[in-house]
Symmetry: C2
Subunit: 351 residues, 2 copies
Amino acid sequence: VRLTFFLNHQHLRFNPLRGSWILVSAHRMKRPWQGQIERPPEENVPRHEPTNPLCPGSRRANGEVNPKYESTFMFDNDYPALQPDAPDPGPGDHPLFQAKAAKGVCKVMCFHPWSDITLPLMQLSEIKTVIDRWAELIEELGPKYPWVQIFENKGAMMGCSNPHPHCQVWASSFLPNEPDLADGHQRAHWKTHGEVMLVEYARQEAVRKERVVVENEHWLVVVPYWASWPFQTMLLPRRHVLRLSDLTAQEREALASIMKMLLTKYDNLFEVSFPYSMGWHGAPTGPYLQEDMSHWQLHAHYYPPLLRSASVRKFMVGYEMLALEQRDLTPEQAAERLRNLPEVHYKDKAK
Amino acid sequence: VRLTFFLNHQHLRFNPLRGSWILVSAHRMKRPWQGQIERPPEENVPRHEPTNPLCPGSRRANGEVNPKYESTFMFDNDYPALQPDAPDPGPGDHPLFQAKAAKGVCKVMCFHPWSDITLPLMQLSEIKTVIDRWAELIEELGPKYPWVQIFENKGAMMGCSNPHPHCQVWASSFLPNEPDLADGHQRAHWKTHGEVMLVEYARQEAVRKERVVVENEHWLVVVPYWASWPFQTMLLPRRHVLRLSDLTAQEREALASIMKMLLTKYDNLFEVSFPYSMGWHGAPTGPYLQEDMSHWQLHAHYYPPLLRSASVRKFMVGYEMLALEQRDLTPEQAAERLRNLPEVHYKDKAK
Ligand SMILES: O=P(O)(O)O[C@H]1O[C@H](CO)[C@@H](O)[C@H](O)[C@H]1O
Ligand SMILES: O=P(O)(O)O[C@H]1O[C@H](CO)[C@@H](O)[C@H](O)[C@H]1O
């Protein structure tokens, strides 16, 4: 009953991680689209391109030559937004003109030696290696920095400037806005309800089923009740886990498997290499390693922009920037579409 | 000294309207761009296109025929995200699954009968008419709705699906996230400092000068100290004004003039019809009309996406969506570039 109501009537939903609302107006999908059409992603990426700075054996902007790597490969970003040695601007002279020091480090990690492959087309053992490297990054940078943001921008539409499969990590001396909000709201939920917000949320979703996209013994992928991007998902462990580095070998294998399933479904939705930004949120590190952070639950966010087809995206513009985010299909509709898609990649099927 | 520091060292700045931080890393402009190139906007828009539903005399999706209007023209959005009669979903069954009623109305307003004109190319008296219509919208919808969001999405890059010059108004039964944040922070500033945050801010900027783009007797345009988009600006009255409808005739004329100047500079920056989303934030209405809202100051936000040229934009993706917004030039650099641009439109000069 409630789902039919939601389909037919615009309403607001609450995002308990951010403390903000989103507007769901599913009837809006009926409007014809006459706006911008996106170019399809380049389908003929060469496997190896000696001038591509991410390829094995290539020379990068700083003159260094990449090893002929055969698995993952990590290096310091040649144009880092965060550098380790930035000095403190000192106190401002007015409460409306506040600045603060920012230090950090930015790295790039190639997933694979080939440029013409993506995570869903990689083997499970190769994805597992990526996950192990992510966990190592938290262990390596965590003691020094309160926040280690691992993220992947995939596709030109998401500002990705190189087709070679890779992610980035930006570690910072400060807790950025989004994890700060997530920390505050998870902490408050823990205090008020005596339970871990996202552990309880995953438990509820596993029972309710209507927003589940795919699940296995250790993990669950849902279109969150409060999703703002059309096919946004959240990837959650079933067990209470604070950080990537806390995952057991079994959980990492199960994670490789569920990532492959989710990303295959994403690609199958419009039969295109699905663009998105994704990233991991786990309990803060640095000084927080000494604190009880039990209110946190590790999770990944996937934010894909496509709405209607491989070439029609959702624009988060005017009303969204100035008032609040609005979506054109219900989270339950999005989950159902993703859930019903095959778990074999359209490119593998074609073979 | 501080400005040179800011140019050379990444740092955080505080946005007192949102209570959030942004990362300024000006050294990042040095990196080469190999990512997505935007298509330039269509330069050959016909003045009148009978099949365009926004043109005078056209038939719209609902079958209605537009009048042969000669000035502005307003009509109800044929695909509204907010409808006046949506029922209440009722209380949810769990704190993590909260929904709320949303009612409202969505209108479209054409600025001019021609499709091949934009605000900076319109005459001052024509822009003044647009401003008068905006003020009337606040008077008409304000008593019924707590929030009346007037906004313009300009350019295909900003999700605008029709080149005919127009804006939208979405009035809602609720205070959306962004104005809710602005309300809370202005209210707290008023309580703590006994002054109106944005009146004091404009006063400070008028003295400091380094972020001022253009000013006149009644108005000031600055690249805010905490701007996140590369050439983001804020338009502020010098007098303490709560809402658009409170502006005097003189202030409206001065507003038409400063809007024409700002938008001319924007177009001149890359010699292209500059894409942006813009919108007005004034004191909330509806039940708030009965309250003392003196902590509010009317202002407009302009959020333009372009960064390096007419075809290279800033992507607010991965790190920005998951952590915090990052900018590649200082607000002072952006203001200086805009300030030094001619006040004659490149298209008028060419004549
Ligand atoms: O209403 P329009 O112009 O068709 O649509 C545009 O503006 C809306 C309000 O900002 C957005 O929700 C849409 O995603 C965008 O494409
Ligand atoms: O670092 P890249 O991939 O060159 O750049 C991309 O990701 C960054 C982090 O999300 C963004 O700040 C840039 O706007 C985007 O183009």
